[in-house]
């Protein structure tokens, strides 16, 4: 009964979102919503590894960068259309995540040390991209401008195609999250998050589960990176792959509620428009970065479970107990 109501709510919500571009052609509103969906999407992808499996990664910028650069380079060097490039990027990011995660998880790196490991990996990759001729060094990669085309994934004046593409990505990502959350695999991940030793003692293959979660999370993040590449048509390591990109990815989840499906969405709907308004009001990145830092600190200190997590704790769980 409850599940149905939730599903109806989501369907209604997404129908409204689908109608919005029909009602308005304001580039500002569409741009803001695109960014809202974009960060919801990335945060949901991060959430699969951090929220479900409990492995807090602060290095998702690496997967993001791999997705973005692979798509861009394949298009520039071989002319492969971005839609296929995205898939290659996602596969590469998965492989990279597996390569990094296997030794990390195999040697039992957790918690604080996992944060440091992911941070270091992302930083190594950023510095290699800054050094590597293939990735355009610090100059970055600029796309040649093509006429608007769905196949080439480039649109210039009209924002509507980007809007629908990222909205579909977001819905797919929510669907994947939902399926994982309600599968046996998802339960295994939650068990690992809550108590890894206990999970292992009931014969859950914790290493394998964590690896699969990392690979899925990395692939989805890489797709987000590819969207970013097609959206901005310009890539450089210092804006695409820094620690702050990783923070942007995890912040909506932290605000909304780590480990929930609705959390990242709510977090991004609150944070991203705020960031845009502040950027317009102040005319620079500075003010909204400050707010972002303040929000991060407040959330971590006062509402560590995020909005959704807190609501569940105070309203929904007690109701269940009463019944």
């Amino acid at each position: 009964m409850r599940l149905n109501r939730k599903a109806y709510f989501y369907i209604l919500f997404f129908i409204i979102l689908f109608i919005i571009p029909v009602l308005t052609d304001s580039r500002l509103i569409l741009n803001i919503l695109i960014m809202v969906f974009f960060y919801s999407y990335l945060s949901l992808a991060w959430n699969i590894l951090a929220g479900f499996a409990g492995q807090y990664s602060v290095g998702h910028a690496a997967y993001f960068g791999i997705g973005a650069y692979t798509t861009a380079l394949l298009y520039l060097r071989t002319g492969l259309i971005p839609w296929l490039g995205i898939l290659v990027g996602a596969a590469l990011a998965s492989l990279f995540a597996l390569g990094i995660s296997y030794p990390t998880f195999r040697f039992g790196i957790k918690g604080y040390y996992y944060i440091l490991t992911t941070l270091a990996v992302a930083e190594i990759l950023r510095r290699i991209f800054l050094y590597w001729d293939l990735t355009g060094r610090a100059d970055g990669i600029r796309y040649p401008l093509e006429p608007d085309s769905f196949w080439l994934f480039q649109f210039h004046w009209d924002r509507t195609p980007y809007y629908y593409i990222i909205l579909v990505f977001l819905i797919l990502c929510m669907f994947i999250s939902y399926i994982i959350r309600n599968s046996q695999f998802g339960l295994h991940l939650l068990a690992i998050r809550d108590d890894e030793d206990a999970a292992q003692s009931v014969r859950i293959n914790t290493l394998k589960c964590k690896l699969i979660a990392a690979a899925i999370s990395a692939a989805l993040t890489a797709v987000g990176g590819a969207f970013y590449a097609q959206y901005t048509l310009f890539l450089e390591p210092d804006t695409t792959m820094t620690l702050f990109v990783s923070i942007d990815i995890l912040l909506p989840s932290l605000i909304g509620g780590v480990g929930t499906t609705a959390g990242p969405l709510i977090g991004s709907f609150l944070l991203t428009p705020l960031a845009w308004i502040l950027r317009i009001a102040y005319g620079a990145e500075v003010l909204h970065m400050i707010i972002r830092g303040v929000v991060l600190m407040i959330v971590v200190a006062l509402v560590p479970k995020g909005i959704v997590g807190t609501i569940i704790d105070y309203y929904i769980r007690p109701l269940h107990i009463k019944r």
Partner: protein, 205 residues
């Protein structure tokens, strides 16, 4: 609940938030332009045999060493220092023995911050500084701590020296763009193979 009682991952995120705030307040007030402190001795060098040693860097070295020495004396010879070491070793027992653990955390956090600030001062005399200058050093500091065994400050000191040498050699042999890559790879290897660090100690969490 005070932040110190949260899990370490939450504390890490908290400090990252603080970093965002401070960096951007600095940009707001003083802009993001790189600056340098220009002193009379900025370009002075002295030679020792075949070695050319820039005076500002040498001064930074001397001050850093002196400060490390003072810190060592503080941690080993004073009551507060002993309390810090006791808390690091076993906070529960320290509490039982009447040490105000939260005060110790506050003191050591403040002390660490102050030392980092001195390091920032020293850097400004030979290195162009901008609001993001700390990021590079921050990661190197993490590496030094883990390499030198968490909680073992002598280990961190030695690890810091090793890292500095490795970094400069990488810059010299490979490329200055890759100078931090090799230390980071060493860091990853140590994390994987000897997570308690090179100099003994214990794991947190």
């Amino acid at each position: 609940m005070p932040i110190i009682e949260h899990p370490v991952s939450a504390q890490t995120l908290m400090t990252l938030g603080l970093l965002l705030v401070i960096q951007n307040v600095v940009i707001m007030v003083w802009s993001a332009d790189p600056r340098q402190v220009v002193t009379d001795y900025a370009k002075l060098t002295f030679t020792y045999g075949d070695l050319y040693i820039p005076l500002p860097r040498f001064l930074a070295f001397v001050v850093a060493m002196t400060l490390s020495g003072i810190l060592h004396l503080f941690l080993t010879r004073t009551d507060s220092g002993t309390a810090i070491r006791a808390t690091a070793q076993d906070s529960e027992t320290a509490k039982v023995l009447g040490i105000d653990v939260n005060k110790v955390y506050a003191l050591s956090f403040g002390l660490g911050t102050a030392c980092a600030a001195v390091a920032g001062n020293l850097v400004s005399i030979y290195y162009p500084i901008d609001p993001f200058v700390g990021d590079t050093f921050l990661i190197m500091a993490f590496i030094a701590i883990v390499l030198g065994s968490m909680g073992n400050y002598v280990g961190a000191f030695i690890a810091g020296l090793i890292l500095g040498v490795v970094e400069i050699f990488t810059a010299f042999v490979l490329s200055s763009l890759l100078r931090q890559v090799v230390p980071l790879i060493i860091f990853l290897l140590v994390l994987l193979l000897k997570p308690e660090g090179l100099f003994g100690g214990r794991l947190r969490e």
